[in-house]
Protein backbone atom coordinates (compact mmCIF):
# COMPACT_ATOMS: atom_id res chain seq x y z
CA UNK A 1 0.00 0.00 0.00
CA UNK A 2 2.75 2.44 0.88
CA UNK A 3 6.42 2.72 0.17
CA UNK A 4 8.72 1.77 2.99
CA UNK A 5 8.79 4.61 5.48
CA UNK A 6 11.93 6.71 5.09
CA UNK A 7 14.05 6.81 8.20
CA UNK A 8 13.51 9.55 10.70
CA UNK A 9 9.96 10.40 9.74
CA UNK A 10 8.00 8.10 12.04
CA UNK A 11 6.00 10.28 14.36
CA UNK A 12 7.31 10.55 17.87
CA UNK A 13 5.81 7.53 19.65
CA UNK A 14 4.32 9.46 22.58
CA UNK A 15 2.37 11.57 20.09
CA UNK A 16 0.94 8.48 18.42
CA UNK A 17 -0.24 7.19 21.82
CA UNK A 18 -1.38 10.51 23.24
CA UNK A 19 -3.54 11.53 20.31
CA UNK A 20 -6.13 8.71 20.38
CA UNK A 21 -6.11 8.80 24.18
CA UNK A 22 -6.82 12.54 24.19
CA UNK A 23 -9.54 12.13 21.56
CA UNK A 24 -11.16 9.44 23.70
CA UNK A 25 -11.29 11.62 26.81
CA UNK A 26 -12.40 14.64 24.79
CA UNK A 27 -15.29 12.67 23.33
CA UNK A 28 -16.16 11.12 26.69
CA UNK A 29 -16.15 14.39 28.61
CA UNK A 30 -17.61 16.31 25.68
CA UNK A 31 -20.69 14.11 25.57
CA UNK A 32 -20.68 14.41 29.34
CA UNK A 33 -21.57 18.09 29.00
CA UNK A 34 -25.04 16.84 28.17
CA UNK A 35 -27.02 15.33 31.06
CA UNK A 36 -26.93 11.77 29.70
CA UNK A 37 -24.49 9.75 31.82
CA UNK A 38 -26.61 9.79 34.95
CA UNK A 39 -29.82 9.17 33.02
CA UNK A 40 -28.32 6.21 31.21
CA UNK A 41 -26.56 4.64 34.24
CA UNK A 42 -23.01 5.17 32.98
CA UNK A 43 -22.05 7.13 36.06
CA UNK A 44 -23.34 4.25 38.19
CA UNK A 45 -20.43 2.09 37.02
CA UNK A 46 -17.99 1.79 39.95
CA UNK A 47 -15.21 4.34 39.52
CA UNK A 48 -17.13 6.37 36.94
CA UNK A 49 -19.29 8.45 39.25
CA UNK A 50 -17.28 11.51 38.19
CA UNK A 51 -18.89 11.26 34.72
CA UNK A 52 -22.00 12.85 36.21
CA UNK A 53 -20.08 15.76 37.74
CA UNK A 54 -20.33 18.52 35.15
CA UNK A 55 -17.49 20.52 36.63
CA UNK A 56 -15.08 17.57 36.64
CA UNK A 57 -15.93 16.62 33.06
CA UNK A 58 -15.61 20.27 32.02
CA UNK A 59 -12.16 20.58 33.63
CA UNK A 60 -10.97 17.36 31.97
CA UNK A 61 -12.38 18.57 28.65
CA UNK A 62 -10.44 21.82 28.97
CA UNK A 63 -7.24 19.97 29.94
CA UNK A 64 -7.75 17.68 26.95
CA UNK A 65 -8.15 20.75 24.75
CA UNK A 66 -4.79 22.03 25.98
CA UNK A 67 -3.14 18.71 25.11
CA UNK A 68 -4.92 18.51 21.76
CA UNK A 69 -3.87 22.04 20.80
CA UNK A 70 -0.26 21.26 21.67
CA UNK A 71 -0.35 17.98 19.74
CA UNK A 72 -2.09 19.46 16.71
CA UNK A 73 0.39 22.34 16.50
CA UNK A 74 3.32 19.97 16.86
CA UNK A 75 2.06 17.52 14.24
CA UNK A 76 1.06 20.28 11.83
CA UNK A 77 4.44 22.03 11.89
CA UNK A 78 6.37 18.76 12.01
CA UNK A 79 4.48 17.59 8.93
CA UNK A 80 5.14 20.81 7.08
CA UNK A 81 8.84 20.95 7.97
CA UNK A 82 9.90 17.32 7.83
CA UNK A 83 7.45 15.30 5.89
CA UNK A 84 6.26 17.38 3.01
CA UNK A 85 9.02 16.07 0.80
CA UNK A 86 8.31 12.49 1.79
CA UNK A 87 4.59 12.38 2.53
CA UNK A 88 1.36 14.22 1.91
CA UNK A 89 -2.10 14.17 3.40
CA UNK A 90 -4.49 11.65 1.89
CA UNK A 91 -8.04 12.65 0.98
CA UNK A 92 -9.37 11.13 4.18
CA UNK A 93 -6.56 12.92 6.02
CA UNK A 94 -7.75 16.24 4.65
CA UNK A 95 -11.34 15.48 5.66
CA UNK A 96 -10.33 14.55 9.21
CA UNK A 97 -8.01 17.53 9.53
CA UNK A 98 -10.76 19.88 8.37
CA UNK A 99 -13.28 18.41 10.81
CA UNK A 100 -10.79 18.60 13.68
CA UNK A 101 -10.11 22.22 12.79
CA UNK A 102 -13.85 22.92 12.87
CA UNK A 103 -14.11 21.27 16.29
CA UNK A 104 -11.15 23.20 17.70
CA UNK A 105 -12.35 26.50 16.25
CA UNK A 106 -15.91 26.16 17.57
CA UNK A 107 -14.58 24.84 20.88
CA UNK A 108 -12.38 27.89 21.18
CA UNK A 109 -15.36 30.17 20.66
CA UNK A 110 -17.26 28.29 23.36
CA UNK A 111 -14.34 28.77 25.75
CA UNK A 112 -14.47 32.51 25.06
CA UNK A 113 -18.26 32.52 25.52
CA UNK A 114 -17.79 31.03 29.00
CA UNK A 115 -15.82 33.99 30.29
CA UNK A 116 -17.64 36.59 32.40
CA UNK A 117 -19.14 39.57 30.60
CA UNK A 118 -19.02 37.84 27.20
CA UNK A 119 -22.40 38.05 25.49
CA UNK A 120 -23.22 36.33 22.24
CA UNK A 121 -26.63 36.50 20.60
CA UNK A 122 -29.07 33.74 21.50
CA UNK A 123 -29.04 32.27 18.01
CA UNK A 124 -25.26 32.43 17.89
CA UNK A 125 -24.89 30.40 21.09
CA UNK A 126 -27.31 27.72 19.95
CA UNK A 127 -25.69 27.56 16.50
CA UNK A 128 -22.23 27.31 18.06
CA UNK A 129 -23.23 24.50 20.40
CA UNK A 130 -24.95 22.54 17.64
CA UNK A 131 -22.08 23.16 15.19
CA UNK A 132 -19.57 21.86 17.73
CA UNK A 133 -21.67 18.74 18.30
CA UNK A 134 -22.24 18.19 14.57
CA UNK A 135 -18.52 18.55 13.82
CA UNK A 136 -17.71 16.05 16.57
CA UNK A 137 -20.24 13.53 15.26
CA UNK A 138 -18.87 13.93 11.73
CA UNK A 139 -15.29 13.59 12.96
CA UNK A 140 -16.01 10.46 14.97
CA UNK A 141 -17.87 8.95 12.03
CA UNK A 142 -15.01 9.76 9.67
CA UNK A 143 -12.50 8.17 12.05
CA UNK A 144 -14.63 5.05 12.41
CA UNK A 145 -15.02 4.71 8.64
CA UNK A 146 -11.27 5.19 8.16
CA UNK A 147 -10.47 2.69 10.89
CA UNK A 148 -12.70 0.05 9.37
CA UNK A 149 -11.60 0.76 5.81
CA UNK A 150 -7.94 1.02 6.94
CA UNK A 151 -7.50 4.43 5.35
CA UNK A 152 -4.28 6.22 6.29
CA UNK A 153 -4.20 9.98 6.82
CA UNK A 154 -0.80 10.29 5.12
CA UNK A 155 0.64 8.93 1.91
CA UNK A 156 4.37 8.48 1.50
CA UNK A 157 5.82 9.53 -1.83
CA UNK A 158 7.50 7.07 -4.12
CA UNK A 159 11.29 7.38 -3.74
Amino acid sequence: MFEEKPRGVALWQPVKTLYPLTLFFMALTGFGQMPIYNRYYMSDIPGLGWLADFYITRNIHYIGAVVLLGLASYVALDFILSRRRQARLSASGWVRAALLTAIVFSGGLIVIKNFPYVHLSDGCIIALDLFHLAAVMAFLTANLVCLIAKKEWKIFSQK
Binding site: Y62, V67, A72, F115, Y117, L130
Partner: protein, 320 residues
Protein backbone atom coordinates in the same frame (compact mmCIF):
# COMPACT_ATOMS: atom_id res chain seq x y z
CA UNK B 1 28.56 22.29 23.86
CA UNK B 2 28.14 26.03 24.26
CA UNK B 3 26.22 26.12 20.91
CA UNK B 4 23.66 23.52 22.11
CA UNK B 5 23.24 25.29 25.48
CA UNK B 6 22.53 28.58 23.79
CA UNK B 7 19.93 26.94 21.47
CA UNK B 8 18.16 25.37 24.46
CA UNK B 9 18.28 28.66 26.29
CA UNK B 10 16.99 30.48 23.21
CA UNK B 11 14.06 28.12 22.91
CA UNK B 12 13.29 28.27 26.63
CA UNK B 13 13.46 32.05 26.87
CA UNK B 14 11.60 32.49 23.59
CA UNK B 15 8.89 30.15 24.76
CA UNK B 16 8.67 31.97 28.06
CA UNK B 17 8.33 35.34 26.38
CA UNK B 18 5.73 34.05 23.96
CA UNK B 19 3.76 32.47 26.79
CA UNK B 20 3.74 35.69 28.77
CA UNK B 21 2.55 37.64 25.74
CA UNK B 22 -0.09 35.03 24.99
CA UNK B 23 -1.36 34.90 28.55
CA UNK B 24 -1.88 38.63 28.68
CA UNK B 25 -3.94 38.39 25.50
CA UNK B 26 -6.42 35.85 26.93
CA UNK B 27 -9.81 37.32 26.16
CA UNK B 28 -11.80 38.26 29.20
CA UNK B 29 -8.74 38.64 31.40
CA UNK B 30 -9.09 42.39 31.62
CA UNK B 31 -12.86 42.11 31.80
CA UNK B 32 -12.49 40.49 35.19
CA UNK B 33 -10.62 43.52 36.42
CA UNK B 34 -13.35 45.92 35.30
CA UNK B 35 -16.02 43.89 37.05
CA UNK B 36 -18.38 46.63 38.06
CA UNK B 37 -18.39 48.78 34.94
CA UNK B 38 -20.54 46.62 32.70
CA UNK B 39 -23.99 48.10 33.25
CA UNK B 40 -25.26 45.04 35.08
CA UNK B 41 -28.32 45.56 37.26
CA UNK B 42 -28.13 44.33 40.82
CA UNK B 43 -30.53 44.17 43.74
CA UNK B 44 -29.83 44.99 47.34
CA UNK B 45 -31.93 43.11 49.89
CA UNK B 46 -31.84 44.60 53.38
CA UNK B 47 -32.80 41.75 55.64
CA UNK B 48 -33.43 44.08 58.59
CA UNK B 49 -36.48 45.53 56.83
CA UNK B 50 -38.17 42.28 55.75
CA UNK B 51 -41.25 41.41 57.80
CA UNK B 52 -42.07 38.20 55.93
CA UNK B 53 -45.45 39.43 54.69
CA UNK B 54 -44.99 37.57 51.37
CA UNK B 55 -46.36 40.47 49.33
CA UNK B 56 -43.38 39.97 47.04
CA UNK B 57 -44.18 36.27 46.64
CA UNK B 58 -47.79 37.05 45.64
CA UNK B 59 -46.71 39.83 43.29
CA UNK B 60 -44.18 37.53 41.62
CA UNK B 61 -46.86 34.91 40.99
CA UNK B 62 -49.28 37.45 39.55
CA UNK B 63 -46.72 39.13 37.33
CA UNK B 64 -45.37 35.87 35.94
CA UNK B 65 -48.56 33.80 35.78
CA UNK B 66 -48.56 33.87 31.97
CA UNK B 67 -45.11 32.26 31.96
CA UNK B 68 -46.08 29.37 34.24
CA UNK B 69 -46.21 25.90 32.69
CA UNK B 70 -49.50 24.29 31.69
CA UNK B 71 -48.59 20.63 31.21
CA UNK B 72 -50.78 18.25 29.27
CA UNK B 73 -51.33 14.92 30.96
CA UNK B 74 -50.64 12.06 30.84
CA UNK B 75 -46.93 12.72 30.46
CA UNK B 76 -45.16 10.59 27.84
CA UNK B 77 -43.41 7.71 29.56
CA UNK B 78 -39.71 8.39 29.89
CA UNK B 79 -36.91 5.82 29.72
CA UNK B 80 -35.04 4.50 31.54
CA UNK B 81 -37.27 4.03 34.61
CA UNK B 82 -34.99 6.13 36.82
CA UNK B 83 -35.93 9.32 34.94
CA UNK B 84 -37.72 11.42 37.51
CA UNK B 85 -41.06 13.04 36.76
CA UNK B 86 -41.22 16.54 38.26
CA UNK B 87 -44.87 17.53 38.55
CA UNK B 88 -45.82 20.64 40.48
CA UNK B 89 -48.95 21.38 38.48
CA UNK B 90 -51.21 20.08 41.28
CA UNK B 91 -49.18 21.91 43.94
CA UNK B 92 -49.17 25.43 42.59
CA UNK B 93 -49.93 26.95 45.98
CA UNK B 94 -46.69 25.73 47.54
CA UNK B 95 -44.90 28.90 48.60
CA UNK B 96 -42.36 27.80 51.18
CA UNK B 97 -39.82 26.72 48.56
CA UNK B 98 -38.92 27.31 44.94
CA UNK B 99 -41.07 25.47 42.38
CA UNK B 100 -41.87 26.01 38.69
CA UNK B 101 -44.85 28.06 39.93
CA UNK B 102 -43.08 29.81 42.80
CA UNK B 103 -39.96 31.65 41.81
CA UNK B 104 -39.51 33.58 45.05
CA UNK B 105 -40.15 32.53 48.61
CA UNK B 106 -39.53 33.83 52.11
CA UNK B 107 -36.94 32.00 54.15
CA UNK B 108 -37.50 32.11 57.90
CA UNK B 109 -34.75 31.87 60.45
CA UNK B 110 -34.37 32.53 64.18
CA UNK B 111 -31.03 33.88 65.33
CA UNK B 112 -29.59 35.75 68.29
CA UNK B 113 -29.64 39.49 67.64
CA UNK B 114 -28.44 41.79 70.42
CA UNK B 115 -28.68 38.87 72.79
CA UNK B 116 -32.32 38.12 71.95
CA UNK B 117 -33.83 35.37 69.84
CA UNK B 118 -35.08 37.18 66.77
CA UNK B 119 -36.83 35.89 63.71
CA UNK B 120 -35.32 37.18 60.52
CA UNK B 121 -36.94 36.64 57.12
CA UNK B 122 -35.38 37.00 53.72
CA UNK B 123 -36.70 36.65 50.20
CA UNK B 124 -34.84 33.96 48.25
CA UNK B 125 -34.65 33.42 44.51
CA UNK B 126 -32.10 33.17 41.72
CA UNK B 127 -28.96 35.13 42.57
CA UNK B 128 -28.41 36.25 38.93
CA UNK B 129 -24.72 35.49 38.95
CA UNK B 130 -22.32 37.71 37.06
CA UNK B 131 -21.03 34.66 35.16
CA UNK B 132 -24.00 32.32 35.50
CA UNK B 133 -23.19 28.61 35.18
CA UNK B 134 -26.82 27.92 34.25
CA UNK B 135 -26.42 30.10 31.17
CA UNK B 136 -22.85 29.33 30.21
CA UNK B 137 -23.00 25.56 30.72
CA UNK B 138 -26.40 24.79 29.19
CA UNK B 139 -25.53 22.41 26.33
CA UNK B 140 -28.24 23.85 24.05
CA UNK B 141 -28.11 27.54 24.81
CA UNK B 142 -31.59 27.47 26.37
CA UNK B 143 -30.57 29.81 29.17
CA UNK B 144 -29.60 33.33 28.27
CA UNK B 145 -27.93 36.26 29.94
CA UNK B 146 -29.18 39.67 28.96
CA UNK B 147 -26.94 42.71 28.49
CA UNK B 148 -28.02 43.98 31.92
CA UNK B 149 -26.83 40.75 33.57
CA UNK B 150 -30.24 39.17 34.12
CA UNK B 151 -30.24 35.44 33.46
CA UNK B 152 -33.34 33.68 32.25
CA UNK B 153 -34.31 30.32 30.83
CA UNK B 154 -36.12 30.31 27.49
CA UNK B 155 -39.09 28.02 28.01
CA UNK B 156 -39.47 27.56 24.24
CA UNK B 157 -36.02 25.99 23.89
CA UNK B 158 -35.31 24.34 27.25
CA UNK B 159 -35.47 20.56 27.19
CA UNK B 160 -35.57 20.14 30.95
CA UNK B 161 -32.28 18.27 31.23
CA UNK B 162 -31.72 19.89 34.63
CA UNK B 163 -28.01 20.48 34.10
CA UNK B 164 -28.58 24.13 35.00
CA UNK B 165 -29.95 23.11 38.36
CA UNK B 166 -27.07 20.72 38.88
CA UNK B 167 -24.38 23.31 38.14
CA UNK B 168 -26.12 26.09 40.05
CA UNK B 169 -24.42 26.41 43.44
CA UNK B 170 -27.84 27.08 44.97
CA UNK B 171 -29.83 24.51 42.89
CA UNK B 172 -32.23 27.26 41.89
CA UNK B 173 -33.94 26.14 38.62
CA UNK B 174 -37.00 23.96 39.11
CA UNK B 175 -38.37 21.55 36.53
CA UNK B 176 -41.91 20.88 35.38
CA UNK B 177 -42.33 17.73 33.32
CA UNK B 178 -44.71 17.57 30.41
CA UNK B 179 -44.11 20.92 28.75
CA UNK B 180 -41.71 22.23 26.19
CA UNK B 181 -39.78 21.34 23.09
CA UNK B 182 -38.80 17.86 24.24
CA UNK B 183 -42.36 16.72 23.55
CA UNK B 184 -41.75 17.34 19.84
CA UNK B 185 -38.41 15.54 19.66
CA UNK B 186 -37.81 12.23 21.43
CA UNK B 187 -39.88 12.62 24.62
CA UNK B 188 -39.20 9.10 25.82
CA UNK B 189 -35.44 9.22 25.48
CA UNK B 190 -34.29 12.82 25.74
CA UNK B 191 -35.41 15.82 27.77
CA UNK B 192 -37.92 15.93 30.56
CA UNK B 193 -39.76 19.25 30.58
CA UNK B 194 -38.74 22.85 31.15
CA UNK B 195 -36.77 24.56 33.92
CA UNK B 196 -38.16 27.65 35.63
CA UNK B 197 -36.66 30.36 37.83
CA UNK B 198 -36.77 34.04 38.57
CA UNK B 199 -36.11 36.08 35.46
CA UNK B 200 -35.91 39.39 37.33
CA UNK B 201 -39.10 40.46 35.51
CA UNK B 202 -36.89 41.20 32.52
CA UNK B 203 -39.95 42.18 30.48
CA UNK B 204 -41.07 44.74 33.09
CA UNK B 205 -37.54 46.12 33.28
CA UNK B 206 -37.48 46.43 29.48
CA UNK B 207 -40.62 48.59 29.80
CA UNK B 208 -38.91 50.79 32.37
CA UNK B 209 -40.74 49.27 35.34
CA UNK B 210 -39.33 47.60 38.42
CA UNK B 211 -39.54 43.88 39.12
CA UNK B 212 -42.94 43.04 40.63
CA UNK B 213 -41.46 41.94 43.96
CA UNK B 214 -39.80 45.32 44.45
CA UNK B 215 -42.92 47.29 43.55
CA UNK B 216 -45.06 45.24 45.92
CA UNK B 217 -42.83 45.40 48.98
CA UNK B 218 -44.39 47.66 51.65
CA UNK B 219 -41.12 47.93 53.59
CA UNK B 220 -38.72 48.83 50.79
CA UNK B 221 -36.59 45.74 51.42
CA UNK B 222 -35.21 45.67 47.90
CA UNK B 223 -33.38 48.29 45.87
CA UNK B 224 -32.40 47.80 42.25
CA UNK B 225 -29.75 49.71 40.38
CA UNK B 226 -26.35 49.50 38.66
CA UNK B 227 -24.28 46.81 40.29
CA UNK B 228 -21.47 49.18 41.17
CA UNK B 229 -23.88 51.44 43.05
CA UNK B 230 -25.62 48.56 44.79
CA UNK B 231 -22.28 47.21 46.01
CA UNK B 232 -21.36 50.63 47.38
CA UNK B 233 -24.76 50.89 49.07
CA UNK B 234 -24.42 47.44 50.60
CA UNK B 235 -21.02 48.30 52.02
CA UNK B 236 -22.30 51.59 53.40
CA UNK B 237 -25.16 49.88 55.22
CA UNK B 238 -22.93 47.07 56.45
CA UNK B 239 -20.45 49.59 57.81
CA UNK B 240 -23.19 51.61 59.47
CA UNK B 241 -24.77 48.67 61.27
CA UNK B 242 -21.67 46.49 61.69
CA UNK B 243 -23.39 44.06 59.35
CA UNK B 244 -22.51 41.47 56.74
CA UNK B 245 -22.93 41.02 53.00
CA UNK B 246 -23.76 37.91 51.00
CA UNK B 247 -23.79 37.66 47.22
CA UNK B 248 -21.09 40.17 46.31
CA UNK B 249 -18.30 37.65 45.76
CA UNK B 250 -20.08 34.30 45.98
CA UNK B 251 -19.69 32.23 42.81
CA UNK B 252 -17.41 34.89 41.37
CA UNK B 253 -19.99 37.60 42.09
CA UNK B 254 -23.76 37.79 41.83
CA UNK B 255 -26.25 40.56 41.18
CA UNK B 256 -28.15 39.89 44.39
CA UNK B 257 -26.61 41.35 47.52
CA UNK B 258 -28.06 40.61 50.95
CA UNK B 259 -27.15 42.78 53.92
CA UNK B 260 -27.66 41.24 57.35
CA UNK B 261 -27.13 42.40 60.93
CA UNK B 262 -25.91 38.90 61.85
CA UNK B 263 -23.21 36.83 60.14
CA UNK B 264 -24.46 34.71 57.27
CA UNK B 265 -22.83 31.66 58.87
CA UNK B 266 -25.36 32.03 61.67
CA UNK B 267 -28.26 32.55 59.28
CA UNK B 268 -27.09 29.55 57.28
CA UNK B 269 -26.99 27.37 60.38
CA UNK B 270 -30.51 28.38 61.30
CA UNK B 271 -32.27 27.98 57.96
CA UNK B 272 -33.68 24.67 56.74
CA UNK B 273 -31.98 23.68 53.48
CA UNK B 274 -32.83 21.27 50.70
CA UNK B 275 -34.21 21.07 47.20
CA UNK B 276 -35.89 24.35 46.38
CA UNK B 277 -34.66 25.83 49.67
CA UNK B 278 -31.26 27.36 48.92
CA UNK B 279 -28.43 27.70 51.44
CA UNK B 280 -26.29 30.63 52.41
CA UNK B 281 -22.98 28.76 52.21
CA UNK B 282 -19.81 30.44 51.00
CA UNK B 283 -19.53 29.60 47.29
CA UNK B 284 -16.28 29.60 45.35
CA UNK B 285 -16.28 30.69 41.71
CA UNK B 286 -17.57 27.58 39.98
CA UNK B 287 -16.69 28.77 36.49
CA UNK B 288 -13.16 29.92 37.31
CA UNK B 289 -11.29 26.60 37.41
CA UNK B 290 -11.85 25.78 33.78
CA UNK B 291 -11.76 29.41 32.65
CA UNK B 292 -8.28 29.72 34.11
CA UNK B 293 -7.19 26.76 31.97
CA UNK B 294 -7.88 28.89 28.92
CA UNK B 295 -4.49 30.54 29.44
CA UNK B 296 -2.87 27.15 28.93
CA UNK B 297 -4.87 26.78 25.70
CA UNK B 298 -3.09 29.82 24.33
CA UNK B 299 0.32 28.58 25.43
CA UNK B 300 -0.14 25.00 24.17
CA UNK B 301 0.09 25.75 20.42
CA UNK B 302 3.19 27.85 21.07
CA UNK B 303 4.75 24.90 22.88
CA UNK B 304 3.75 22.51 20.12
CA UNK B 305 5.24 24.73 17.44
CA UNK B 306 8.42 25.18 19.47
CA UNK B 307 8.74 21.42 19.94
CA UNK B 308 8.31 20.77 16.22
CA UNK B 309 10.84 23.45 15.37
CA UNK B 310 13.34 21.99 17.84
CA UNK B 311 12.80 18.51 16.41
CA UNK B 312 13.36 19.81 12.89
CA UNK B 313 16.59 21.60 13.84
CA UNK B 314 17.85 18.50 15.63
CA UNK B 315 17.09 16.28 12.64
CA UNK B 316 18.74 18.69 10.24
CA UNK B 317 21.83 18.92 12.45
CA UNK B 318 22.07 15.12 12.53
CA UNK B 319 21.71 14.92 8.72
CA UNK B 320 24.65 17.29 8.36
Amino acid sequence: MSASISRRMFLKSGLGAAAAAAASAVPGAHALAAADDRGYLATLIDIRKCIGCEACVEACREANAAKFPEPAKPFPKMYPPRVKVSDWSEKRDVSDRLTPYNWLFIQHTTVKLNGEDTELTLPRRCMHCVNPPCVKLCPWGSAKQLENGISRIDADICLGGSKCKNVCPWDIPQRQTGVGLYLKLLPSLAGNGVMYKCDRCYDRIARGEQPACIDACPEGVQTIGPRKDIIAQAHAIAKEIGGYIYGETENGGTSTLYVSPVPFEELNRAIPKGDGVPHLDPVHDAMADANNLATAMVIAPVAGIAAAAAQFLKTRRRAK
